[in-house]
Amino acid sequence: MTLTESPSPLGRLGRVVVNNPLMPLVGLLVALIAVLAILNPTILSLFWVGNTIKIAIPLAMLAACQTLTMLTGGIDLSVGTVATITAFVAATLSPLTGVPVAIVVALACAVTVGLVNGFGIAVCRVHPLIMTLGTALIATGCLLVYQRYVIATGVLIPDFLLWLGTGRSFGLPNGLFLFVPFAVLVIWAQRRTGFGRMLYAIGSNEAAARLSGVRVWQVQFTLYSLSSVIAGMTGLLYLGQIKTASLSLALPLDLPSVAAAVIGGTSIFGGRGGYGGTIIGALILTVLTTMLTLMQIPEGGRRILFGLIILAVTALYVRLTNQN
């Protein structure tokens, strides 16, 4: 991509789309809702909108982990496991130790996974994908061992998590009370803070960032710890929403969280994208899932579709930006 080269009209359109992914995304969302309305005209209501937002919130929060890590060219595939562990530990420890201690311990578990991820990726330079898959595997093993010791204690889900997860105010889910400040914070952090800009810098050109004085390993270490904390918070919210503590609670959200970030215009190679698009991406996926359920597509078909979406969108971005 040189400056003197004049891009073709299609290329110029592509650049506009890549730089402002929000417009076409909102268009796609509206189109999907329109198709849904044609398929089942009775479905559209305020209740449905609230429900869709409620389901999309945990997904959007997990996708925040993917967005932030992808900005540096990484990925965090342990988020589903971390969310599950936090939820399970919080729910099973609450009857034993009381709610505050249980939540602190649960979040500590999340931070531990994040620290291990950060150590492997930032210090040992393992590829993030392999490292986070590995910690997810180990953490699942630990969860299975832990489960053995608390099998008899029963489960207590804290009231305020239930309120947050299932309650509604003015027709909209209470989860928004957590999500709106969270989203504002993330968007502000990625745009206005030094940390956020360093994420973009590392993702665009790690060597250049290092030469400009960014301590890459410290940023990555912080990033993966932060990602696990977000995943832990999501787990707590999800616990209130699902109201059961299972050993595979948030695992089905792993793949959609990657898909949401990718659809939202965050480049999996780093340096491009933002959280605003990801939120729309999460909404699109939720509507899409409703549609697939309505059309009675089996679970296998859904996975194939999500995998193909990730592939197609990434390939499209590569084409549009000539980035390799």
Binding site: I304, L311, T314
Partner: protein
């Protein structure tokens, strides 16, 4: 002679480690004998085939995260086709599954070459696609395996001309592994194609300038990996007698075995004997943990930690290698 020794010092070290572990097993469990060896070889078979496939791709400078998912597709395809089939039909089914494996690998490779998206992203997306395909073929474990196929890997070797006592201790599964890998890899290694795998793995640009068709070679490497994944999936069905639509823990294990086996992540160096020995080492460790009557979940954690440490160590070595 000395050159052979120094070139293969890593492999020889691994063989020594394996021998030491087997002796340790004998010390832990004095009863350990022919049947123990047989079950060890049978448990290691799918892991070994997955690692061999992964090693081929890594040698050619790529990585295939969809290995375990392709194995699941092969496993369920084989189990469904062989359900209630005669011996002849079962043989046709095996051939068909192998073709499917090659096809799946070729699709992975073609997508990587055509879309120019990095291999790690494409195969991650395809991981979900193949998982979905496996679920569509068979929603829950089921199907069956032809009895003669099961007979190929159960029990010890008996040769018509030699007394049974002489060969009985050699597990059939081990012989099956050596024959299959040897039949596919040895001719390949000697051929032009095998040389090209190493060429594009060590330096794609140099390979391109020397007239190696980089794209087709890469597709071929993934197709070979797909073939081994199909064999691995069949061996799962052969071992359990049913098809498993949910992929086993073969992905992490194969990456760890490849690294431990002396194949450098990044490509161009290493062979297939190292990864096979590494798989046997990892399986023996697992068996020893079981024999020491350690909780299987704790054993899984220990095993996962070993694998993660191995991968971290490998990554550090790879970074060092790039710097010098």
């Amino acid at each position: 002679m000395r050159r052979v020794l120094t070139n293969n010092s890593w492999t020889i070290g691994l063989a020594g480690l394996l021998a030491f572990l087997l002796i340790a097993t004998k010390v832990i469990q004095p009863d350990f004998g022919v049947s123990g060896l047989d079950s060890l070889a049978r448990a290691a078979l799918p892991f070994a085939l997955a690692s061999v496939g992964m090693a081929v791709v890594v040698i050619a400078g790529g990585i295939d995260l969809s290995m375990a998912a392709m194995m699941a597709v092969a496993s369920v395809t084989g189990a469904v086709l062989m359900n209630g089939a005669s011996d002849g039909e079962a043989a046709l089914a095996v051939l068909f599954v192998l073709m499917v494996g090659i096809g799946m690998g070729a699709i992975n490779g073609t997508l990587i070459v055509l879309t120019r998206v990095p291999d790690i992203v494409v195969t991650l997306a395809m991981l979900f696609v193949w998982q979905g395909v496996a679920l569509l073929i068979l929603n829950a474990p089921g199907g069956s395996a032809a009895p003669w196929l099961r007979g190929l890997i159960v029990g010890g070797v008996t040769l018509p001309f030699l007394p049974a006592a002489l060969t009985e201790w050699i597990p059939k599964a081990l012989v099956f592994l050596i024959v299959v890998v040897g039949a596919i890899w040895l001719p390949l290694r000697r051929s032009k194609l095998g040389l090209r795998f190493y060429a594009i793995g060590s330096d794609p640009l140099a390979a391109y300038r020397s007239g190696v068709p980089v794209g087709p070679t890469r597709i071929a490497a993934y197709a070979v990996a797909g073939l081994f994944a199909a064999l691995g999936g069949l061996s799962v069905t052969m071992g359990t007698g049913i098809g498993e639509p949910i992929p086993g823990p073969y992905l992490m294990a194969s990456v760890a075995a490849v690294v431990l086996g002396g194949v450098v992540l990044g490509g161009g160096r290493g062979g297939l004997l190292g990864p096979i020995l590494a798989v046997l080492v990892l399986r023996t460790v697992r068996m020893d943990l079981t024999l020491l009557s350690i909780d299987p979940n704790v054993a899984a954690i220990i095993e996962g930690t070993i694998m993660a440490v191995v991968v971290m160590f490998g990554a550090v070595l790879a970074t060092r290698g790039r710097k010098t």
